[in-house]
């Protein structure tokens, strides 16, 4: 698949931009702060209904404007789909598919798939567990949009359960009998929704492992290959995690029973996929806290590349976006990364300095300057 047309209105720094794109490689070059990342962020938004930089939609709307509109035409196997998203911070966003409004924006997920490499990716290795959970869940949604529903069901259960625990813990501290009649019900729902997410993540990690190891060894000879280990808050030992979803639900239920007293004291849910982590190690040492800067980068890139290979193996190439990543890499890894990605159906590359882009990635060139994008 590839993005054949992109139109933005009041998105970030863009008042209005209209862009024809082609399959193959396109590069976007311009000085700092001119809107390169804004442009590729918008494409990523069409694929995931979220930004890779911010958690809320407010910063996506141009200062002073009320709403932003992103419209993208996606060509896949000769078929064209037009997705239009209206971003209304604080209100419900709206989506259209081929001009017809859809009930929920979620329905347009799956038309465009992207893999985005960004400077922020270093956080996959060095950041909090939340970064790695997000990596896994976004990949799940990209592979099967239904996981967007699984995810939001789980989040809803969690919110309800936390609200109950919070009020119960408030009563507890006032030495009143906490009202826990419904806690078991929420445990059940958390276990069911959590097991669905957990089993999908476990399967995903197993599929990613060989791909990440291979990508890493293609990028660098230093350290590695990375080992991916899913660490569940419900089982200290990874090998204790059953593959079967019903048994995972039982495991979550048991683990919830064990932490009950602590949960009542602290007023939050302490067990479930929202507390899990994906532990990355290089040469038997955790990457976080041990790996060198260069190794951490290679590890993060290897994870993204593994995601790309996985999506590709499902059928068609996702759109590859490389935002400003070459500046972070030495010449050898630049070349190797370029070699790895240049045959994808569509590759969008951004850099502040044209010389940072390896020669392997020559293609259509766009100049980005002061909110305008010009084909050279």
């Amino acid at each position: 698949m590839y993005v054949s047309h992109l139109q933005l209105a009041d998105y970030r720094s863009y008042e209005s931009v209209n862009l024809e794109l082609e399959p193959g490689i396109s590069t976007f070059v311009g000085p700092n702060g001119q809107g390169k990342t804004n442009l590729v962020e918008a494409i990523g938004y069409v694929a995931s209904l979220g930004s890779h930089r911010v958690a809320t939609d407010t910063p996506l709307v141009r200062k002073g404007a009320e709403r932003a509109v992103v419209r993208a035409a996606i060509t896949k196997d000769g078929q064209r789909a037009v997705i239009e998203l209206e971003i209304n911070p604080g209100k419900a966003n709206r989506a259209r598919l081929n001009r017809a409004p859809v009930t929920r924006p979620r329905e347009v997920l799956g038309f465009l798939r992207t893999v985005l490499f960004a400077p922020e990716d270093l956080a996959l290795v060095k950041g909090d567990p939340g970064e790695r959970r997000r990596f896994l869940d976004e990949l799940l949604v990209a592979r099967a949009p239904r996981f967007s529903g699984v995810r939001s069901d789980y989040d809803r259960v969690l919110k309800q359960r936390n609200a109950l625990l919070k009020s119960a813990s408030a009563q507890f501290f006032k030495r009143r009998e906490p009202d826990l009649a419904t806690l078991d019900v929420w445990n059940d729902h958390l276990a069911t929704a959590g097991a669905e997410l957990l089993s999908a993540r476990l399967e995903l990690v197993a599929e990613l492992q060989p791909l990440a190891a291979k990508s890493y060894s293609e990028l660098t000879t230093s350290g590695g290959p990375p080992v991916l280990q899913y660490r569940s808050s419900a089982a200290p030992d990874e090998s204790d995690l059953p593959a079967d979803r019903a048994r995972l639900a039982d495991l979550l239920r048991e683990a919830l029973a064990e932490v009950r007293a602590q949960e009542l004291q602290r007023g939050v849910s302490l067990v479930g996929p929202h507390r899990d982590d994906l532990v990355l190690s290089l040469d038997d040492l955790p990457a976080k806290g041990y790996a060198s800067q260069g190794e951490s980068w290679s590890c993060a890139l290897a994870l993204r590349l593994a995601g790309f290979e996985l999506l590709r193996s499902d059928g068609d190439d996702p759109v590859l976006i490389l935002d400003d990543v070459f500046a972070e890499l030495d010449a050898e890894r630049r070349r190797r990364l370029a070699e790895h990605v240049r045959h994808a159906e569509q590759v969008l590359v951004s850099a502040a300095v044209a010389e940072d882009i390896p020669g392997e990635l020559r293609g259509a060139r766009f100049r980005v300057q002061e909110g305008a994008v010009e084909r050279e």
Binding site: D153, V157, Q160, A163, T182, V185, W186, D188, H189
Partner: protein, 199 residues
């Protein structure tokens, strides 16, 4: 901000569910421009609904007497009770003409976020109704969203020792939706295909 009475009206309208500040303002100015007789009719309807309408002493449905029309109807099967969240769900199910039993209106669903627990719903009243042994089947027709499901699970567990047949409306209903918005055909078929709840 507008002067006293107008702002007062906007504030009051803005408190209604689904009415934001902009709609409240639009409604207020619509009322200001309307004929006095029309506004009087609206006022009377509001006052009357508060004076005349009560909640059925048995099932909690809206009623004009102490018991609602359905509870007074001797032809309705007293052995089956259908539990719903709101009175409007009774109306929706009645439209399907599939159900000949009686209702129990909870007045909402369990939702800790909104501070609604079992004690805030008409669950004690339901247990009293079930205690005389006349009822043999309980249909849990709470909304097909998380809070509705949680309420159904809670009730199913609660009544389990009574040995009743407990069923839940079959899916086919749009998940995450409100029962009242389901069309007749969908809702009717969901009734046909209701399933047992095992706990």
């Amino acid at each position: 901000m507008y002067e006293g009475a107008v702002q007062n009206l906007i504030d009051e309208l803005g408190r209604l569910p689904g009415v934001g500040p902009k709609s409240a303002q639009r409604l207020a100015f619509h009322l200001l421009a309307a004929e006095t007789a029309d506004v009087k009719r609206l006022v009377n309807a509001l006052v009357e609904v508060k004076e005349r309408v009560r909640f059925c002493a048995i099932c909690g449905n809206v009623a004009e007497e102490s018991e609602c029309r359905i509870c007074r109807d001797a032809r309705r099967d007293a052995a089956v009770i259908c539990v719903v969240e709101e009175s409007k769900d009774v109306v929706a199910i009645e439209r399907t003409r599939e159900f000949r039993g009686r209702y129990h209106v909870l007045g909402g669903a369990i939702s800790p976020i909104e501070g609604v627990g079992p004690d805030d719903l008409r669950i004690k009243e339901l247990m009293t109704r079930l205690s005389d042994g006349q009822v043999t089947e309980l249909i849990l027709a709470t909304d097909p969203n998380l809070e509705g499901e949680a309420t159904a699970t809670y009730l199913a567990r609660l009544v389990k020792p009574m040995g009743l047949k407990v069923t839940r409306l079959a899916s086919g209903l749009p998940v995450g939706g409100d029962l009242e918005y389901a069309d007749e055909v969908t809702l009717g078929r969901a009734f046909e295909g209701r399933r047992s709840l095992e706990f």
